[in-house]
């Protein structure tokens, strides 16, 4: 091994490899996103999350990202679904993937309430996908624009996606290396205790030992799985573990499409040969049923031409090494490696103040419940008034709001502005309590701090210390 020269690394990264794993990824990712978008719509969540609320918890500096109106937000979801279909079919792929990335990310940035790690993951994967030539074959583009057709892609395009998945798992695993998770098996114990009615396994799930096994197994799985998936020998076993792990999470916890996304995208770790066989099988299988339709999809020469022939005769010459793109990727991964560690910059208790909690692959890591009521004080009369969060925020928003400091601060500002608009200058205080991982509730926001006077990026010393 030894240290390789930059030239060597670049040569490795840009080496030509078969497109099959990338094409599989493109199709599955696109299909899952079509499904996910339709499901979101079908469940009525567009209305519930983006039209019902009066106020939205914007990200810092992104206050302009709003649903605006029914027409706008529904159009976004239509664009999202169509562009996801474009990714799946490989139709106008660059535009499709760019549009999907933009529409999906825009929607995710509207309201912190809807933040989920797996939505963030989708955004990041979509971003990487824009940069890859995943549509060079097994796509409608390669049929429409045969000039650009190629059975090979640069290795980095597959490696980048693999590394991103590895980062997700690895950081999710590292995050589980904490006292409550490993020593108390919490919050796993809390979650499993309510599963007594689970078919057949119910009584097993509520046992304390099970919580420990799940906690430790989950931690080990997350930390190791990417390395195992990279290993050719252990890959089949590792993938079986991926399927079992995510199926378990699907059946035990309400986490939507995330298990399917992970089961789908981790296939990218398999070899090009494996994927090619898969494509041939699918092709052969589908030929019987939809022969005409599929002929458009896969080259009609695929049946009798070997891959080697194709590899040696790419219709499209890959451009010379794109240093700009490689630098962009290097920057991307540097950020990806550093961002989840940013909480080390502060001495706060991460689980309590959640400073640096988002965008860090802390997946299903803690159980927080809370109670929050605001108190406003009329500055001129000094009289106090209780303000219920019901009046301002939806039940769905409240659930996130009560335990997340930055949202509490934003809510306080909303209330202050609302009173101001009625001509009443107020100070805003919060009476709030939070229970972390089932422990007795503690006071959360310092009830003597006027939240309206704080800056939105204020150091979170207005949260009562957790020790």
């Amino acid at each position: 091994m030894g240290i390789k020269s930059p030239e060597h690394i670049i040569k490795k990264l840009t080496a030509e490899v078969a497109i099959f794993p990338l094409a599989t990824f493109r199709v599955l990712f696109g299909a899952l996103m079509v499904f996910s978008t339709i499901r979101f719509w079908y469940n009525g969540w567009i209305d519930d999350f983006y039209l019902t609320p009066t106020y939205f918890f914007s990200y810092f500096g992104q206050e302009w990202i709003l649903p605006y109106n029914e027409m706008f937000i529904y159009s976004l979801f239509i664009i999202m679904a169509l562009s996801a279909a474009g990714i799946m079919l490989g139709l106008f792929f660059r535009a499709s993937s760019l549009l999907f990335f933009l529409s999906f990310t825009y929607v995710e940035l509207i309201d912190k309430t809807t933040y989920l790690n797996h939505y963030y993951f989708v955004s990041v994967m979509a971003f990487l996908l824009i940069l890859t030539p995943a549509h060079r074959a097994l796509s409608l583009d390669s049929k429409l624009f045969p000039r650009f057709k190629s059975w090979v892609v640069p290795r980095w395009s597959i490696l980048a996606l693999q590394c991103q998945i590895a980062i997700l798992y690895f950081y999710a695993g590292i995050a589980k290396l904490n006292y409550d998770w490993l020593v108390n098996a919490q919050p796993m114990g809390l979650w499993l205790k309510s599963k007594a009615d689970f078919p057949i396994l119910g009584q097993l799930l509520v046992m304390e030992e099970t919580a420990f096994i799940f906690s430790w197994a989950g931690m080990l799985f997350d930390i190791c799985i990417a390395f195992l998936l990279f290993s050719k020998k252990l890959r089949p076993l590792a993938y079986l573990a991926v399927v079992v792990f995510h199926l378990l999470t699907h059946f035990l916890f309400p986490i939507g499409v995330f298990p399917w996304v992970m089961i789908g995208v981790t296939l990218i770790f398999f070899s090009a040969d494996w994927h090619e066989r898969g494509w041939r099988r699918v092709y052969g299988f589908c030929k019987i049923i939809w022969s005409s339709l599929i002929r458009v999809y896969t080259s009609d020469s695929m049946g009798n031409q070997t891959v080697n022939d194709k590899r040696t005769t790419p219709n499209y010459k890959l451009s010379t090494i794109n240093y700009g793109l490689l630098s962009l990727l290097a920057l991307h991964f540097t950020i990806q490696l550093l961002v989840p560690l940013r909480h080390h910059l502060s001495d706060e208790n991460l689980y309590w103040t959640e400073n640096g909690y988002r965008f860090s692959w802390r997946v299903m890591l803690m159980e927080k419940t809370g109670y929050l009521e605001f108190r406003v004080r009329n500055i001129s009369t000094q009289k106090q008034n209780l303000v219920s969060i019901d009046e301002y925020f939806t039940a769905f928003q409240q659930r996130q709001l009560v335990t997340q400091p930055d949202m509490i601060l934003q809510a306080a500002k909303v209330i202050a502005r609302d009173y101001e608009s009625q001509g009443i200058q107020v100070e805003v205080y919060a009476d709030s309590f939070v229970s972390l991982n089932g422990k007795k509730h503690r006071p959360f926001v310092n009830p003597t701090v006027n939240l309206a006077s704080l800056k939105i990026d204020q150091k979170r010393d207005w949260i009562v210390k957790y020790d």
Partner: protein
Amino acid sequence: MGSNFKISLFLIAVACFSSCRDEDEKCDPAPNFCTNSADSRLTDIRDITILPAYEEVLTKVAELNTAFSAFSANTSESNLENVQSSLKTAWMSWQKASPFNFGPALDNELKSNVNSFPVDSFTVLQRVMNEDYTLIANPTKGFPAVDLLVNGIAGNNTDITALYSGADGSKFKTYLEAVINDVSDRIMTVKSEWEGQYGECFPKNTGFATGSSFSLFINDYIKDWEEIKRGRIALPLGLLTFLTPLQDRVECYYGEYSQELALEHTLSHYNIYLSDSYSGIQELVQDVTEFIGEDGQTLDEAIVAQFELAILKLSEVPDPLSETILDDFDTVNEAYLALQDMVVLLKTDMTSGLNIIINYSDVDGD
């Protein structure tokens, strides 16, 4: 490798199939669980807590109706007093049926139709005079409207009786009859749904997940408790209006026994929690181990102590509440604080310990 591919394809297919089935159930919160076996705790909640509560209030409303008929036939002060006391009994027993505002009660908007206050006295009297007996907007009906009509249309019972025997007497009687019948019909509808398919499926929708029977039950139990705190105490006391008391916002403004109603309501919550004759909420809470309170107090001990405190503090508030809020802010405020501390225990510690998600909405997590 070929077989690996087949296996994974198979696993994905199996997984997809099972996921779709699960989605269907999730998308339909109505009871489609009747194939499951019933959970005995849920059966007990239905048979020992919920159904008897509806039965009792129905019986009491029927008695109110009987008393009203007697008063209608023979409009005398003593018969008016009978109506007034039957109203109080019926209203008190409603407090036991109030915490179940999910399923049939929610579908039929029972709570908002039966006990929305303050009653819009102006509109009620206007409609009486116009002989318009269709009951539309919620603040013109339910127990608070009966309260207005039997306790509040004049300063004393002699004058009220006089109104009922006067020129407009039949108008008052017709409106009052319509209100009592509406209350009775609505409770009857809800009760019969509980005795029908909904009740049959209720114990079969097991578990603690969002949309499960127990989750619905607990969510509304807590929501109803918050309404005691907020709607019955904080609001009239002026805690939501920069300390300007709102006398007419009490539950029973004309009959002047709002404190008694609130206390009964609190007691009914306590009894539901304890559920003496079966293993209910308390037994589940007793299994919660993560919570360690002051002096090693368990969550159950903390909740029981808080119930006792809330009941004590509420007992110390004299009726009429609409006057006490003006004369003795501190006593009422202490009752408020005791009710409030209970909300924190229920909303943070109990939901966390039982792993019940508060604020019903079906949504993904991660």
